[in-house]
């Protein structure tokens, strides 16, 4: 559905009255609308000459989408955090610096992963099937927001990882153990970042 704000209604009425797009843009610019707002309003209607003007599909927002994508990303963040915890604890054990209490984070992390990993996989594969069946779901605004929030968190994690590595280098603490642990963060956060960036690139144009 097209947005029923005043600008959109004006554009629709102008197109119905037979005005050309440059004429409408000039009128709106004269009235003080910014060019991006004008372009957005014009893009809301298909360029094929038809009366009445045909609205283009716009991003959708639904409570169901919010539930699905919020759950997916909460599960992803929880699982990714605990995956890093488990892998780093295992690295500590390999380098024989793990204390006797390293069992506890591993036990908790494994418990979280056993629950979150299959759930995330199921939610993601289910979403892929839904998108393949009906590409209109690509227009979900919630989906886009959640993906960008996930990308932001992954990017911030990668930044923090890079800063910590450089700080360790400058303070002389850059051991092989530290490098491996930083690599664990890089692989997990980088994997999530790469997965969703490709996801955005591969999706059908909205």
């Amino acid at each position: 559905m097209a947005q029923r704000d005043e600008l959109s209604i004006f554009v629709r009425d102008a197109l119905t009255a037979g005005k050309s797009r440059p004429e409408i843009a000039a009128a709106l610019a004269h009235a003080g609308w910014r060019s991006a707002e004008v372009q957005d309003a014009l893009n809301g209607w298909d360029e094929m000459p038809f009366s009445p003007p045909v609205p283009r599909p716009v991003a959708t927002v639904s409570a169901r989408d919010f539930f699905t994508y919020a759950l997916t990303f909460c599960v992803l963040i929880l699982g990714a955090f605990n995956l890093v915890v488990v892998l780093q604890a295992l690295v500590d054990l390999v380098f024989a610096t793990g204390d006797g209490d390293s069992d506890r984070p591993i036990r908790w992390g494994v418990a979280v992963l056993i629950v979150t990993a299959p759930l995330y996989l199921w939610l993601t594969l289910r979403e892929r099937q839904k998108l393949a069946r009906d590409p209109a779901h690509y227009r979900s605004a919630i989906r886009k927001w959640m993906i960008y929030i996930g990308l932001l968190l992954a990017a911030l994690t990668l930044l923090g990882d890079a800063i910590a590595t450089i700080y360790a280098l400058l303070t002389g603490d850059l051991t092989l153990q530290f490098i491996v642990k930083a690599l664990v963060v890089l692989v997990v956060a980088g994997g999530i970042f790469g997965f969703y960036v490709r996801d955005l690139r591969e999706e059908a144009p909205a």
């Binding site: 995956l83 036990r107 990993a117 490709r198």
Partner: protein
């Protein structure tokens, strides 16, 4: 490519779960580790009682059940003396070498060297055998 990335992440998660389970062992291993932790905690309390730091000095007691020895820390022993070893219920071994030197010992279910390494007070711990852990103490003061 995205599918490949997803498969790689699944393998990483699967590896972390398998590796984690191999390190921590099963539920039985966890229960044994918890019991060992309790044993070490009990021994630490017993040693603290026997050292009786900051109180009028007396010779070490002949048995742990001596109520007259260090009454200020006695209350912390009641549960330990009543329940003993968390698995068998047997009392902890107390050896009195002199009026000032002693050790309290237990038999651990798991690796005693690992347990000693994990302890914050390793200097008070001796490992007379592979499965035995003792807290040792020496009251380097004159006796009343």
């Amino acid at each position: 490519m995205n599918k490949l990335l997803l498969i790689c992440m699944c393998l990483l998660v699967g590896g972390a779960i398998v590796g984690g389970l191999m390190v921590i062992g099963g539920p039985k291993q966890a229960r044994l580790a918890r019991e060992d932790k309790q044993r070490i905690s009990d021994l630490r309390i017993l040693r603290s009682h026997l050292m009786c730091i900051g109180h009028p000095r007396k010779p070490l007691p002949q048995t742990l059940t001596d109520d007259a020895y260090c009454p200020s820390t006695r209350h912390s022993l009641y549960d330990i003396l009543a329940s003993g070893d968390p698995a068998s219920g047997a009392p902890y071994v107390y050896r009195r070498f002199s009026d000032t030197a002693f050790e309290v010992c237990t038999t651990l279910a798991l690796n005693s060297q690992k347990a000693r390494k994990a302890a914050f007070d390793q200097g008070n711990i001796a490992l007379p055998a592979d499965d035995t852990l003792c807290f040792i103490g020496e009251r380097a003061v004159s006796i009343e």
